[in-house]
Amino acid sequence: MRNDYGILRFDSPKEATMDYSKVEHLIGVDSPRHPPHDVVSDTDVDHWCQYMQDTNPIYTDEEYAKTTEHKGLLAPSAMVHVFCLGSLRPCLEQFVEGKFQYPTDPNNQVNVIIEEEGYTGVMATAQTQQHFKSIKVGDEVFWTLQMAKFSTYDHLSRQGVGRKYTMLYQFYNQHDELLCKQSFDVLVYRPPMVTRRLYAG
């Protein structure tokens, strides 16, 4: 039924919708706790503050920071995810070759399934962060990730028919203290036929 580009004909039968039971057992399951690639450093914090034009001395003035209740430099809380990003190589391997750094993580298993089901369009729609503890320069930020919610049925969106899901990150320091909970909402969708034809050239 598909042509050389994998495109269905206009008169093709309706595409079957995804069966939620394929991913149900993976929803709400935490990944193992992963280690950071970088320690929280004063140089990285300084770079962030330059980009963000943040002049709070608690982040960059060590002498001042020592006089505060924190007794040293802090990192901006919104920066928490930065310390958990992978290095360039796994990023390239994921986005170019589709190879995950942690392929057995439940969220990555879900991603493989939804891509196989034809939901190849991806759109981030919202992010929230809830902070519980300050991040100090010198901290190591560990993280877990779970697919917390996943639509049980298809939604009709302007991008095409799709599913919504929410990923939940939880960040911990080296003392096992919870630093932050971060949700990340995504719409994955099957691009409509006209879009697929456009992509196919």
Binding site: P35, P36, H37, S41, T43, Q50, Q53, S87, L88
Partner: protein
């Protein structure tokens, strides 16, 4: 543009600038990740890396991307570049860099550097990208013990515009 006034600054050395941060595993790791595709994490790096790549030295001299209180130009080379920019020579093009490394740069070192305005052309010089003034800068890097770790000769062409060859 007062060229003779600028010429008086030739041969003068800037005051010493101390870099914003110590040489850190974090910066070195980022560099090695981009330049050498080194994928080790900070712990593996910390266990085996004790010196910074020499070629990275100039990276630490870069001014901050943004500062709440930007520093006005005061050093000889800064004053010349400012004067040329005011006269319309707004495009600075690095055209040569010669680096001499004399001592290893260790993780944790706090470096300082000075810049000597070694030369300024008396008139516009022609380059394949257009005409401009040639500025020769001599950088000297020292560590926290006052030992010279590197000397670098940097040549810049300050031009009104770049004419790309097609």
């Amino acid at each position: 543009m007062d060229l003779s006034k600028m010429k008086e600054l030739v041969g003068q050395e800037s005051s010493s600038t101390t870099l914003r941060h110590n040489i850190s595993i974090s910066d070195v790791r980022h560099w090695c990740e981009v330049i050498k595709e080194d994928d080790r994490n900070y712990k593996e790096f910390g266990d085996s890396v004790t010196t910074a790549p020499n070629a990275m030295l100039m990276a630490w001299t870069m001014p901050p991307l943004w500062s709440a209180q930007p520093r006005p130009p005061t050093e000889p080379h800064e004053l010349v570049i400012e004067e040329l920019e005011s006269a319309g020579y707004k495009v600075g093009l690095g055209i040569a860099l010669e680096q001499k490394f004399l001592l290893p740069v260790n993780i944790g070192d706090r470096l300082s550097y000075t810049v000597t305005l070694a030369g300024l052309s008396s008139a516009e010089v022609e380059t394949s990208l257009g005409a401009g003034y040639r500025i020769d800068l001599d950088y000297t890097f020292t560590n926290q013990d006052g030992n010279v770790v590197s000397q670098q000769k940097y040549t810049v062409a300050q031009m009104k515009s770049i004419q790309l060859q097609h």
